[in-house]
Amino acid sequence: MTPRALFWSLIAALAVGTWAMRSLPIMAHGRVPHPPWLERLLRHVPVAALTALVVPGSLFVKSGDAWAAAPARTIAAVLAAAVALRTKNTALTLAVGMAALWAGQAALSAF
């Protein structure tokens, strides 16, 4: 399979799986069993998933298969985290984080 066909099969499978999780309880009128233990597990999905998506990208940069420490990114991410916690504003978090990264990169390359 070409990479493009492979990627389309990923899109299709992800779409079907996501649709099923979104729709089945609504279609079954809420009668799909969702025992308390399952709810207890899934309650933690957003925090766990988002943290795992934030942390590695804030500590490292990846070039090819190698991971290297990225101090400018780490500092920028800490500043952006302060903004995110205080303002809960996506655009502002993004702006501060990117500006801090560029400032940090400029400062590091000046040495």
């Binding site: 279609m27 009128h29 991971w67």
Partner: protein, 232 residues
Amino acid sequence: MSRRRHSLIEGMRDVSPILIGVVPFGLVAGAAVVQVGFGLPEALGMSFIVCAGASQIVATTLFGDGAPLWLALGTALVVNTRMFIYSASIAPVLSHASARLRPVLGHMLVDQNYVTTMTRGRFREDVDVIPYYVGAWVALSGTWQVSNIAGALLGPMVPPSWGLDFAVPLVFLAMLAPTLKGTTSVTVAIVTGVASALLVPTLPMQTGLLVAIIAGIAFGAWRDGRPVEEAA
């Protein structure tokens, strides 16, 4: 104006303040598809058929990093399992929908639509909740598709030296901040953060992300189940 139309418009109006927050996320998701070597059709496939931002980015970047298909799919689906609980909890609110309409309403269940309908729409006397929910989705989805398209078109024009890939953790950071309520969620974040820092760069075949997420979920469930004096 008919009640149905009024409800539709009110749904759109109630989500309008949060639309601006959707835009950067959509730009990043659209740009990610182009960054791994595909184009506008694939970006639209993701934004329109999948229509679940975090999982779009996860599936796209894992695929681009050479992860096997099952892993890119599995990790993205784990990220979306929260929607199962959304669906179960919103089902009674949408129970007047016909059997034919329900599969469509399911596809419309995105985070912001769920929150807005559950916290505002269903309590409003002046609206019917189903057209309200549809209206909220139309506004959200329209914004989502346009920003994904813009990301796919504009992304390639940004030089790599700008480090735009850093926008991915930043938008997730902005989404994470409001979910950190109570000591349980903070400790889950700490455990997951340490696990991901150690595992993502080291585990083979890009499995680190999935393992770190599952470790965080398991830790949270374990902590909930533990008898503690003060409930978090």
